[in-house]
């Protein structure tokens, strides 16, 4: 195997770092656009872990799942942006803390 040989652990570390950043963003951010973006980061962190694992074991499955994740992310963004529009229309804001009418 030629090229850059990065140990799996390092990649997994970057992946989990990305995941943590995404999750933190999800928890901290109030603007729904940033929430969606944080979600993307988390998805990509997971995708990175799959790719790295696939490369490590020399299996194609990792890349297959990566493709699946890309698709899911695209679909999610489509639905998510639709929701963003609706939220903006209804609440005249993108702050998700104001969109909490379900409180019961």
């Amino acid at each position: 195997m030629d090229g850059l040989n990065i140990p799996l652990n390092h990649i997994l570390l970057v992946s989990s770092l990305l995941f943590a950043i995404g999750m933190l963003g999800l928890m901290i951010r109030r603007n729904i656009i940033f929430i969606l973006m944080s979600l993307e980061v988390m998805l990509n962190a997971a995708a990175l872990a799959f790719v790295a694992a696939g490369a490590h074991w020399g299996q194609p499955d990792g890349q297959v799942v990566f493709m699946l994740i890309l698709t899911v992310a695209a679909a999610e963004v489509a639905v998510g942006l639709g929701l963003v529009l609706q939220v903006q229309k209804r609440f005249k804001t993108l702050d998700m803390d104001h969109a909490n009418r379900m409180q019961g």
């Binding site: 901290i28 109030r30 409180q103 019961g104």
Partner: protein, 615 residues
């Protein structure tokens, strides 16, 4: 005549039912005529009966029909008529008629005129059933009937809360005695197999010896009933409160007739009591204790009707004393004279209250001697009879009781002395009333005068209260004869002089003012004692704390349904958890996420720890 005695209670009953059903459609005059005439006819029939009885002395036993028949128990609707019944019937219908007549004027302005006479007639009917009953069950029917009428009439002006309270008190307190009496009836029936009074007494004399336990228990249970109805210790507290009713009602029910039903019951079943000398002693002691207690209380009261109420309790105490010492006919004699003079006093007080804007406080009256002469003379005569001044009716009856009490071995002289003390107090409080109300300066002017419908009953009762002592009541066949011996003459002289001393004392204290008692009254001891007597020896207070308050406490506790509280707890727990959990449902996504992450971290940590353990 003997076949138609059933008409006597029936006529007032029919009138009562008519007034209940059609009272609202009748005119005031018609209601009055119907109410008075029905009792008047009953009184006339009783008079005819009396005339017949005086001639042939014939006891009448009349069985109308069998009430019920269950396993050998067949009480009949049957009447028994002898001298004792005759005395009671005469008092009920005679005094009852006068009081009805008085009521027509007293209640004239009342919007519930028809209701009043309906109750009053029903009372007369029930009372007649009580005294004419041949068996104890029918007697019990009349007994409860008069109780109900008393309740209805005490609470007649039910718009005021206090009156309703007094009515309930009267009903509940007498019910305590009645329950004991019902137990007594059950005991007598299970032991003797019959409740017909004559047969029962005969059977009892064959079954039991003097001093046996069972007749003692039965008699004591009957005494409980009598004590409740006749307002004796310890069940007397209802009578002063029962004065909340219209005054003629107090005269008829709570002075002349119903409250003496207990005396009648004991006199009627005297055959049983002779088998239980202990029970008779109990009756005598109850009587004399009540008599003294009530006399002291009457001394301190300021409400004219409460004075008379306590004096009624006191006088019935004398009747109980008479029964207890075996002076049966003296007791019944005092019952009759008491009915005359106490009805007179009550009607007199009714006339005062009627003419003085419903004023009850004797210290706000005064100087009524010249303004209301008829009432003044009725009060003079009534009080003289109550105090047992010589030649009045009360003198003859009370004297008989005291003398016969004296002759009882062992406790006799003690009872006699206590009775004398009571007589002294009676004289003082009754003339205190007269001097305060009728002499001195006027504090309230009467706004109307008594009409003939008030004056006539008062005059007739005045006459009866004066000469009632000369009547010979025909009960010699009913009761065993007394031995006819007389105590020493000095005993008699003392008995006569004591009331006179009482009247003189009252004169010096409350009229001429020569005898100053202010120092005595205002001393610490005098004040607290006076307050103690005023409150009726604190018995109401005692019962309030002993029975009423704990009962209310219990009722309040049960009102909260303590058993339901267990299920309520489950509900409350669910609701609390629901509350907590619903707080978590804030609708804020960030919180959801944070909690999810926290949960995730927890699960992973746990899983990691566990796997370390497993490995």
């Amino acid at each position: 005549m003997s076949e138609t005695i059933w008409l006597i209670p029936l006529i007032p009953l029919l009138s009562s039912v008519t007034l209940m059903l059609f009272g609202s459609r009748l005119k005031v005059s018609q209601i009055g005529i119907l109410g008075v005439a029905s009792v008047g006819i009953a009184a006339l029939l009783t008079l005819l009966l009396a005339v017949e009885f005086m001639q042939n002395q014939q006891v009448i036993q009349l069985s109308l029909w069998i009430w019920m028949e269950v396993a050998g128990f067949a009480p009949g609707i049957s009447f028994y008529f002898d001298g004792l019944t005759l005395v009671m019937m005469s008092v009920i219908t005679g005094v009852g008629f006068l009081i009805h007549l008085f009521s027509t004027e007293f209640m004239e302005r009342d919007p519930s005129y028809a209701r009043y006479f309906a109750y009053l007639n029903m009372f007369v009917a029930a009372m007649l059933v009580l005294v004419m009953a041949d068996n104890l069950l029918l007697l019990y029917l009349g007994w409860e009937g008069v109780g109900v009428c008393s309740y209805l009439l005490v609470g007649f002006w039910y718009q005021h809360n206090a009156n309703g309270h007094a009515a309930r008190k009267a009903f509940i307190v007498t019910r305590i005695g009645d329950t004991a009496m019902a137990l007594g009836l059950l005991l007598l029936f299970t032991q003797l197999g019959t409740l017909d009074i004559q047969a029962m007494v005969g059977e009892a004399n064959q079954t039991w010896q003097v001093g046996d336990t069972i007749p003692l228990i039965a008699c004591l249970l009957l005494v409980c009933g009598a004590v409740g109805k006749s307002a004796q210790l310890p069940l007397h507290t209802w009578l002063p409160d029962a004065m909340a009713g219209p005054t003629p009602v107090s005269a008829l029910i709570h002075a002349a007739t119903m409250v003496t039903a207990g005396v009648y019951l004991i006199a009627r079943t005297h055959g049983l009591f002779l088998l239980a000398p202990t029970a008779m002693t109990v009756v005598a002691v109850i009587g004399i204790t009540t008599s003294l207690m009530a006399a002291f209380t009457a001394l301190m009261q300021t409400d004219i009707k409460r004075i008379l109420a306590y004096s009624t309790i006191s006088q019935i105490g004398y009747m109980f004393l008479a029964l207890g010492v075996g002076a049966w006919s003296a007791g019944i004699f005092h019952l009759m004279t008491h009915a005359f003079f106490k009805a007179l006093l009550f009607l007199g007080s009714g006339a005062i209250i009627h003419c003085l804007h419903h004023e009850h406080n004797i210290f706000k009256m005064g100087g009524l001697r010249t303004r209301m002469p008829v009432t003044f003379w009725s009060f003079m005569i009534g009080s003289a009879a109550l105090a047992a001044l010589p030649m009045t009716s009360g003198f003859f009856s009370k004297d008989q009781i005291l003398l016969q009490a004296y002759q009882l071995p062992d406790i006799g002289p003690g009872l006699w002395m206590a009775g004398l003390l009571g007589a002294l107090l009676t004289a003082i409080y009754s003339f205190r009333l007269v001097f305060v109300v009728f002499f001195g300066k006027a504090n309230t002017e009467p706004d109307k005068n008594t009409g003939w419908r008030m004056a006539v009953p008062l005059s007739v009762l005045c006459f009866l209260a004066m000469v009632g002592g000369w009547f010979m009541i025909p009960v010699s066949e009913v009761f065993p004869a007394s031995d006819g011996s007389h105590p020493a003459h000095w005993v008699e002289y003392v008995s006569i002089s004591v009331p006179i001393v009482g009247v003189l004392l009252a004169y010096f204290i409350f009229y001429s003012g020569r005898l100053k008692i202010d120092g005595l009254v205002n001393s610490t001891l005098g004040k607290s004692l006076g307050q103690f007597w005023f409150s009726g020896w604190g018995i109401d207070w005692l019962y309030d704390h002993l029975f009423v308050k704990p009962y209310y406490g219990l009722a309040n506790m049960l009102k909260g349904e303590p058993v339901d509280a267990i299920y309520g707890l489950i509900v409350a727990l669910n609701q609390t958890f629901n509350h907590w959990l619903s707080v978590a449902q804030s609708g804020r996504m960030r919180w959801y996420l944070a909690s999810m992450v926290a949960g995730l971290i927890l699960v992973i940590t746990l899983a990691a720890n566990l796997s370390v353990g497993v490995l």
